[in-house]
Symmetry: C2
Subunit: 343 residues, 2 copies
């Protein structure tokens, strides 16, 4: 029973069964990475560790009705994003991705074609990141689709980035632009027609649905020891700033005039009568990286930035000796809001 | 807001929030394993690999309404089993557990007290296995509780057990007894009162709810190179035998007269008019190990067995050169049934 034989029928995953689904994944996930000693098909996967390195591991789940809606987002994008959010966590540690495990909890009526596309979304990004899909699990769901990914990476033990290494006086830098994912989600929630979106608005939806993890710059900054701390923006800039400052036992002052708000997000916020910065601070899921950079490492940090020319780096604030999280704008200082609650 | 302040109230996980839940897990999971360089609280966990070893990784999810029911099974047992099934996969590879990631998808009204107990179930088994809980994720569920565990282990690269190393003529050995978990599930399904169960029947329910992974014997057999292949019995004996034979490109003959059916399971099967062996072959979730042992390694295998005196080892069949999966009993040979379908 294959999708090729019944291309237009509504074959479900339940009608195919667990073993056949695993075999479909195995065929799609074929990889030649020499550190994968045993991939899909046994009780566990086996990897050769990188020499002189440490293992970096993270897991993150995406849940239908909470993190995505199947009537909004294509299965391929759901698969992509489920992995991207994990690769973003590895990037925030300065780790290089090595392998991926995928645990799927599938409604019985989930179409086989959607299953194949979801797997392709995971596998395409996994292979692009040189982190093959090496194992996982398939279980039945009496409710929502759940896509749970574990990403395994590797890092040099003395070049790890944590949240807790920042010191007062370190400058805060942000990759890329922020607010786009929140704007994209807001557009979908308000029922905007995809076909009538402006290019800037469509880019926001794409940022929400298919974020690009900042794998390379995370690894490069870590390799150059150019930052003292890093965190990714899964729950938004305000939350990321808080997390980094708390782990580093510092206060923080965010520079509200220099937050690199995405152009489409700014337009969307203004259209709704909101300040682009306030909209951005309350939004999540940009998956950019926030670095703390000691002053004496600024030139090394900027040198990495010059080599990674397609990643803008913007100074957005600084760690401070006095406690508290503050936003400075229009010459005044106000308490920083809470940001996005994912749970 | 802590459970101590409101010991009898119905505080839910949603009222506490993600950050506070992660902090509760972090406090419960405190561990001193020297290979854990960074545990709960950053973007990812960091582990020092074991010297000269390979990494062995597996993931498995348990889903409310599919793998467990909250009105039957205590949160602590749900936590225990979610990890146990993963440790069983590591045991089947001959790997030593090293660390655990826990991804929870929680209904908003999940009681905080149940959350704490579930975490305690995971952490107690994790610590007993010397595999601390080092990270994870908490997401909201609009439906069932999902408990997804990733277990990381380590093995000597030339002492790995796979499913595929068996050869015709190898003898098949099983740890422990089988059928108990299926009988325990059947008792719960038929509404047996726990308080009125016989000790043998109560033991079946305990085997279903809180299986003990065969970590030590898996590691010892692998260390002695005493087996050519191994698989665990997550989906029952018939399925395990099929998987091992298929991966080893052999046929298999199961000896129906010597299958070590659990006493309580045999009594339960007979009470329902079923043959204990047929009941057992169709049942799953025993989490015993099935080993293929080459004849020239039999004495080494038995020597491991003598050192692990509390683990019975029973010869249950052999791998065969001719294809097919067969059951021999009463002097006749019949095709082996399909066994338990988890999905």
């Amino acid at each position: 029973l294959t999708a090729q034989q019944f291309p237009d029928s509504d074959i479900t995953v339940a009608s195919v069964g667990e073993h056949a689904l695993i075999e479909r994944v195995r065929q799609r996930a074929a990889s030649s990475a020499d550190w994968v000693l045993l991939g899909i098909g046994d009780d566990a996967a086996v990897l050769r560790p990188a020499r002189g390195a440490v293992d970096v591991v993270t897991t993150d789940a995406m849940v239908e009705g909470v993190h995505f809606r199947r009537d909004w987002t294509a299965p391929r994008a759901i698969g992509h994003k489920s992995l991207a959010v994990n690769l973003s966590d590895l990037a925030a540690m300065g780790a290089r991705p090595r392998a991926v495990l995928l645990s799927l909890v599938l409604p019985a009526d989930f179409p086989l074609r959607d299953f194949d596309e979801l797997i392709d979304g995971v596998v395409t990004l996994a292979n692009a990141a040189h982190a093959p899909l090496v194992g996982g699990n398939i279980a039945r769901s009496p409710g929502p689709l759940v896509v749970d990914v574990t990403a395994l990476g590797t890092a040099h033990p003395r070049r790890l980035l944590t949240r807790g290494g920042g010191r007062p006086g370190d400058e805060l830098f942000l990759t890329g632009t922020v607010g786009a994912a929140a704007a994209g989600l807001s557009m979908l929630q308000e029922g905007e027609e995809r076909s009538s979106l402006s290019p800037e608005a469509a880019a926001c939806v794409a940022r929400y649905e298919q974020p690009s993890p900042r794998t390379r710059i995370g690894e490069r900054v870590a390799g150059a020891k150019a930052a003292s701390a890093c965190v990714d923006l899964s729950d938004g800039l305000a939350d990321a700033v808080r997390q980094l400052a708390a782990a580093s036992r510092c206060g923080v002052v965010l520079d509200g005039e220099h937050i690199p708000v995405d152009e489409g997000a700014a337009a969307w916020a203004r259209r709704r009568g909101q300040s682009p910065v306030d909209f951005t601070l309350a939004g999540g899921e940009d998956y950019e990286l926030l670095f703390a950079v000691p002053r004496q490492r600024l030139s090394a940090f900027r040198a990495v930035g010059r080599r990674e020319q397609n990643v803008p780096l913007t100074r957005v604030g600084r760690l401070a000796p006095e406690p508290g999280c503050w936003l400075e704008r229009d010459g005044r200082r106000e308490p920083l809001g809470r940001g996005f609650a994912h749970f």
